[in-house]
Symmetry: C2
């Protein structure tokens, strides 16, 4: 079994002890709040991690692409929610998945797509399970709960022969907050908006059994989930620096890091150059507008201990520049000689993970397992 | 043979007519300037594209990872320059490549690594071909031409039994310019600095046959390459919006785009939501600080015609928000109904390409070929 010291760099490390603790923390919270938990697997696209989430009590998964649905269905999962509004051109692919036995559920927020879904179902004798996306915070997609278009979409589905499974909301604006009270308020707004939308559908005779909400910050902040039947979250499994700035994890709960090696210096500038550039870290600069800007990541020792004040200040494709965040120049060659191995905590676990064909999962006994990820569409 | 209309979205398209024109333009320029051309294949990591570059007259390739060297050597290429300073831990991998017949050349800018290279060569009876990186613009790695450390590195290699193949410079700060005169000045600075560094090595008796420089903007701007033996450039094959802002390509020379479909709207905000988010575009925001900020990309028709004023203004993992760059609200549902297919020109071809397992290469007859890329380390 290889160990950390045997790995080539750059490599995406998963601290499995932290991963399992993060998974348990979220599941216990959902159990206490009395809701089903459906993790969003777009963060990791990695079967061993999804299996750990299911083993902890998750019921079904959320995906961001039909490829994820196909891959995880092929691995034996069935209850899969594709949480991006479907375009009519992708309905044959969704139909094929259902015909292979996948309990695939799809999403829409428009009458045009709802009518296409219903028509495709009638043509092929398939009753699609469809969620309606609700916009609770003006963040991206979905219909406002008070919008009558919500009822029009519901009718297009229901009257057209599809099954309205429920309403779905994602308070993505929670990523912009960094205050516990504001997060609780937004979580309540997400809950109340989704529950209200479901009630409006029920009031006009459209069955709407399920109410699904979720984002990692609101899932961890919600005081009550009355009326909600399931919660979705993804990045909580790994956490990252953006989530740390939001205030929902500590640095030592971040389970993903990138192992790198010092390849050179610019002593006069206080730079150590490492072999983790944006290809290994991603171009995500999610902490740029937050209260603490970590550049392209927080520098840690090879063992994972944060080295206060050192960040990856800039990045080219295969070069990262390690420097002091405050711009001061230190005797960098002595501090980090050529060959020094470091770990970098990433801004955004979803984006950094996506750059790597596999995770190097560091187990409790110090051995390392290769956990493959997939990518593409 | 599939055609454009048959492709699922998102997909990375290569306009092969533009690709071949870009490749021919650069090669003709290098031929006219009397230097060898060694394309940097990190941009595409795609064998058919590299074969086109070689067929046009390129001599050897430049790579950013040893995996690229391994993949292209397995495909029959031999003259490969790994243009990232090597860490001693990667020397066994480099040695194995040379033992398999690859004329792999490596790079360093430090005495510590130079000594390790020489020692590894002596231990294994291998004379490594080594380039010394020179810093001509304070941009990243390399030794200033006037720095005596340059001579120390040269001696550590030469006296230690390695072969000093030449000096290598990359004027990466050219990406920050947008003025033809400034680009010409920087190109001359790159040339003169590299030639001076080579001469200093020769003056102390260290053979230094080759002088390699290059970046797409300086390669296209240089008035003279006297003393230079080879040039490297990568992004020129595809070009992108950053290069357009720099001033070295027109929009209709950009050979890479992302095909996407409209999946929803927020009419009150003038948003059309498409299925190309940052996973398909990358998180690269390279035009953010340039004279024209294109957000996450310039919106075009499915046929590739730019739609003036429309950009991907923001992006989540699998959602892009198409809007007016100036923030004005248009009747977006009428303009781009659900199911509309668009193309997005990317900020940075290297970063966007890396998000995709393959390119969909659009041929002259309108057919589409799958051109695989590889990724990882």
């Amino acid at each position: 079994m290889p160990r950390l010291a045997d790995l080539d760099t750059p490599a995406a490390l998963i601290d499995t002890a932290r991963l399992h603790a993060n998974i348990a923390r979220m599941q216990q919270r959902m159990d206490a709040l009395g809701v089903r938990f459906r993790p969003h697997v777009k963060t990791t696209k990695c079967l061993p991690i999804v299996q750990a989430q299911l083993a902890a009590g998750a019921r079904g998964i959320t995906v961001s692409t039909l490829k994820e649905a196909e891959q995880f269905h092929a691995a034996g999962l069935h209850d899969i929610l594709y949480a991006v509004c479907i375009v009519p051109a992708k309905l044959p692919q969704a139909l094929a998945l259902r015909r292979r036995g996948c309990a695939l559920q799809i999403l829409t927020d428009s009458v045009a797509a709802a009518e296409a879904i219903a028509a495709c179902g009638r043509t092929h004798g398939e009753v699609f399970d469809v969620w309606i996306e609700v916009d609770v915070d003006g963040h991206r997609s979905g219909l406002p709960p008070a919008d009558d278009a919500l009822l029009a979409v519901g009718r297009a589905l229901h009257d057209g022969g599809a099954r309205v499974r429920g309403v779905l909301a994602h308070a993505g604006s929670s990523y912009d907050l960094d205050d516990a009270a504001a997060l609780r308020t937004l979580a309540e707004q997400e809950r109340a908006g989704a529950v209200h939308a479901a009630q409006r559908l029920r009031d006009v005779g459209i069955p709407c059994v399920e109410v699904s909400i979720g984002s990692t910050p609101t899932a961890l902040a919600a005081a009550s989930l009355e009326g909600v039947t399931e919660v979705r979250a993804g990045v909580y499994a790994c956490f990252d620096l953006v989530m740390h700035n939001v205030g929902v994890c500590t640095l030592d709960e971040i389970a993903l890091s990138v192992l790198t090696t010092v390849i050179g210096h610019q002593p006069a500038k206080g730079w150590a150059i490492v072999d983790a550039g944006w290809m290994a870290m991603s171009r995500d600069r999610g902490t740029q507008k937050q209260k603490h800007d970590y550049g392209y990541g927080q520098v840690c020792t090879e063992a994972g201990e944060p080295i206060a004040g050192y960040v990856v200040g800039s990045a080219n494709q295969e070069h990262g520049i390690v420097c002091r965040a405050d711009g001061t120049v230190t005797t960098i060659e002595q501090r980090f000689p050529i060959g020094t191995r470091l770990r970098i905590l990433p801004n955004h676990a979803c984006a950094t993970g996506a750059q790597h064909p596999q995770y190097a999962a560091v187990m409790a006994d110090g051995s390392v397992q290769a956990w493959p990820r997939f990518y593409g569409w």
